[in-house]
């Protein structure tokens, strides 16, 4: 049993939830973001619904509403017939079709952590929405229907997760109830999954036998799987480290400039203070990685000029240091030509801006990509024109090997070379998840065509 529940056993159900929320917030508990993934119908929404319900995060009126709808729709499950998937499948079309179409975001807290969960669709037609949910995730729960094992969509989603470098992967082997909680059947699937994740070069994965429907190993360890001695799903979610925090603290300081704050008289400070702000100029943005302190030497791109940080402002408070992901405004010693799109970084750490990129693309649009296509690339606060100079390959989801390809179709994971109209300080995604990702955008209608990940910069060898 988890700490969250032990501590609150003496309380009523509602108090259990809310006191733990109160504690989490007061303690400034960490935010942990996770997403679901896997093939259609393998029980993602049911699992997160179960997780929300069993961790007491479903309020009475919500529970009433889904209970009513479950009954109306003739849901025949256990537990008074509640279809837990309805807690996240909130759209009319989703309820009619019994599938998830777009990501649902839900929020809950335990004594240890606050969670933002993104319940993603499994249907191949909505893979773009799964990618949406996965880009911001600290962990992905990959579901597998125990009766079906690893499917093409499982491999696709695992490939996405690897491409995005999602820090933690939890594999939930679901519907274990339908296999009579059989250890041998579970072990077979767990081994098959580990073989695939090893082939994909994914590191450690946590595999858990669960039944979303019956609640086994979701919040509490199940007596029906005595052969499984690992943590429950919730225990894992509560204890996995927030890698993003650690990684970004180790990386060099970066601030993409969103805009220049230069009020020039139009100030929101008292008249008496206004003169002090007459020449105020600061560069606003969100720290993407590292730490900056007043007095630090920094470099500014484009141009490469060096200067010194003279102030770090946050809405009227002067800070001595700032770190990711704080939104701040930096004041610099020298009057440089800095506009939106500039990047300020720790002196000597910024990459050479490049016009040539080698990248992996997750193609999200029904219109195929062919070499020579003109697109836009959005990186940080920059949007520049780009030409896809070559499609160099595509991932074959059966063999998990690269195959040659002349174009990329929707849901393909492909490799391309791109030429940019202006040099950008893109870094490889392998060196920084925060400075190596970009969007590919349609130049006319503005559609987001692909998630892009820089694999190498400069002219390809």
């Amino acid at each position: 049993m988890t700490q969250a529940l032990t501590d609150s056993q003496a309380l009523t159900d509602s108090q259990a939830l809310t006191d733990s929320q109160a504690l989490t917030d007061q303690a400034g508990g960490t935010l942990f973001r996770f997403a679901t993934a896997g093939s259609v119908d393998d029980g993602k929404s049911t699992l997160v619904g179960r997780l929300l319900h069993d961790s007491k995060a479903v309020l009475a009126d919500q529970l009433d509403a889904v209970t009513r709808t479950s009954t109306e729709r003739g849901f025949g499950g256990t537990e008074g017939g509640i279809d837990f998937a309805l807690l996240t499948d909130g759209l009319r079309a989703e309820r009619e079709q019994g599938i998830t179409i777009d990501v649902a975001y839900r929020y809950f807290a335990t004594n240890r952590r606050s969670f933002i969960l993104a319940d993603c669709p499994g249907h191949v037609q909505y893979t773009r929405n799964m990618v949406t949910g996965a880009t911001t995730a600290d962990a992905v729960i990959m579901l597998i229907d125990a009766r079906k094992g690893v499917l093409e969509q499982t491999r696709r989603h695992l490939s996405v997760v690897r491409l995005l470098r999602v820090p933690h992967i939890i594999v939930a082997v679901n519907k274990i109830d339908l296999l009579g909680y059989d250890e041998a059947a579970y072990t077979e699937i767990a081994d098959a999954v580990r073989a695939v994740t090893a082939e994909l070069g994914l590191g450690e994965v946590h595999v858990i036998p669960v039944s979303a429907l019956a609640g086994d190993n979701v919040v509490d360890a199940s007596p029906r799987t005595p052969w499984y001695t690992g943590p429950s799903l919730l225990e894992l979610l509560e204890t996995l480290p927030v890698v993003d925090e650690v990684e970004s603290a180790l990386e060099a300081f970066r601030l993409p400039v969103q805009l220049v704050l230069r009020p020039q008289g139009a100030v929101a400070v008292p008249a008496a203070d206004a003169p002090a702000f007459r020449d105020y100029r600061a560069y606003a943005g969100q720290v993407t990685s590292g730490t900056v302190r007043v007095g630090d030497a920094v470099t500014v791109l484009p141009g490469g000029a060096g200067t010194v940080v003279t102030g770090i402002d946050f809405a009227g408070t002067a800070l001595t240091e700032a770190f990711a992901p704080q939104s701040i405004a930096l004041r610099l010693r020298d009057d440089l030509d800095i506009a939106r799109g500039a990047v300020i970084g720790a002196a000597g750490t910024l990459p050479d801006p490049t016009k040539e990129l080698t990248a992996a693309l997750f193609w999200l649009d029904p219109r195929p990509l062919t070499p020579g296509d003109r697109t836009l690339v959005k990186f940080g606060a920059n949007t520049v024109q780009a030409i896809v100079t070559a499609v160099t390959g595509r991932l074959n989801l059966d063999t998990l090997e690269q195959e040659t390809a002349a174009s990329l179709d929707i849901n393909d994971i492909g490799h391309v070379t791109v030429r940019l109209a202006a040099a950008l300080p893109i870094e490889t995604f392998a060196s920084s998840r925060r400075s190596g990702a970009f969007l590919v955008i349609h130049p006319q209608d503005g559609a987001t065509l692909a998630a892009g990940i820089a694999t190498a910069t400069g002219v390809p060898a």
């Binding site: 400034g28 309020l59 009126d61 909130g90 777009d102 773009r128 911001t136 009020p263 969100q286 946050f314």
Partner: protein
């Protein structure tokens, strides 16, 4: 341990105390503790993370769009977004106007608060009035008397008239199951419609605001905040709100399991008994369909405590119009509502 409060009044109040002027020389900054939770630990509190995310979104929209506007009703969520905007552009002014779609079914103290806030910050307020549309026949009063669904047309007209290409709103994903599906930047077609089956992917924190002529974007900076986050933030930042968010005595009667206030647009039926109760509002909206909850939470910390212990969602407790059908919010959003 809590983040040292950035003095809220320095951002939004009439007489800011001690906004730190920008020092002219390096290193002359008043040493203030960084927003770190624990000394030496580079970890932000949950509220700090949400705040920085919201400020990032607000700045992106202002940088990438020509004519943003903020939907401002005087309700707590829009007040929080305005506060975040003020912080995002400090020491400058909030660089966009406000828009209120006025149902005409208002709580007088909310309108007073709205006007006072606008005046204090020196901002421009556009008001689109549902009443004007009813008066000249462009809209008809509904049989049930509620006007929330009638806001859509005046809203879309005001967006078109103001040539607004981006519209900030204080909607949160935890409010409703349809809002749980909403993007942070949500593209709307020329009819203002939301197409939940065909939303643009939203990857990392790279927001794509590209749109074609006639389209606009709705931006929701506090998408990821819960009701409790909002109240903790109001407490931490000492943000002023209309008084009806705190416990007060009011003449009310019971209808549909909620306490309705008596008033010109919410007369009790003969079968309904009016009594005086100590109540507060968890949301403010069309007075004819917004209910109060019984509460003695008269201060912000009491409200925080109450919200943390609540067993009913905010809209479930207070909005009669959402009970009309299972997908009331989704249907309104598809029609261009926020």
């Amino acid at each position: 341990m809590r983040t040292p409060p950035v003095n809220a009044s320095s951002v939004l109040a009439a007489t800011p105390n001690a906004a730190t002027p920008a020092p002219a020389t390096p290193n002359a900054a008043t040493p203030a503790p960084a927003t770190a939770n624990r000394a030496g630990s580079h970890r932000l509190s949950q509220l700090d993370v949400l705040e920085s995310e919201a400020i990032h979104i607000i700045r992106e929209v202002v940088a990438e769009f020509e004519r943003p506007v903020l939907l401002f009703s005087g309700g707590k969520d829009s007040v929080v977004v305005l506060h975040l905007a003020a912080k995002a552009f400090w020491p400058g002014r909030v660089p966009f106007p406000l828009l209120h779609v006025d149902t005409g079914h208002n709580f007088p103290e909310v309108i007073a608060f709205r006007d006072e806030t606008v005046e204090r910050l020196g901002l421009r307020l556009e008001v689109a009035r549902v009443q004007d549309y009813i008066d000249d026949g462009r809209l008809h009063e509904r049989a049930d008397g509620t006007r929330n669904p009638l806001q859509t047309l005046p809203l879309l007209d005001a967006i078109a008239a103001g040539r607004h290409d981006a519209v900030f709103g204080g909607a949160r994903r935890d409010e409703d199951k349809a809002r749980a599906k909403e993007r942070i930047l949500s593209l709307r077609d020329e009819f203002g419609q939301w197409d939940p089956r065909n939303q643009r992917p939203e990857l990392w924190n790279l927001y794509n605001g590209r749109h074609t002529v006639g389209q606009h974007v709705r931006a929701f900076p506090i998408s990821n905040w819960t009701e409790l986050n909002v109240w903790r933030y109001i407490e931490r930042e000492q943000i002023a709100l209309p008084p009806l968010y705190y416990a007060h005595d009011r003449e009310v009667y019971r209808r549909d399991g909620m306490w309705r206030a008596t008033g010109p647009v919410s007369e009790p039926r003969t079968s309904e008994t009016v009594e005086t109760r100590t109540v507060r509002y968890r949301t403010v909206g069309d007075m004819s369909c917004t209910g109060a909850v019984e509460s003695d939470a008269a201060s912000v910390d009491a409200v925080v405590r109450e919200v943390a212990l609540s067993t009913i969602t905010e809209r479930g407790a207070t909005r009669a119009d959402d009970r009309i059908s299972e997908a009331a919010m989704e249907d309104r959003k598809k029609d261009g509502y926020f």
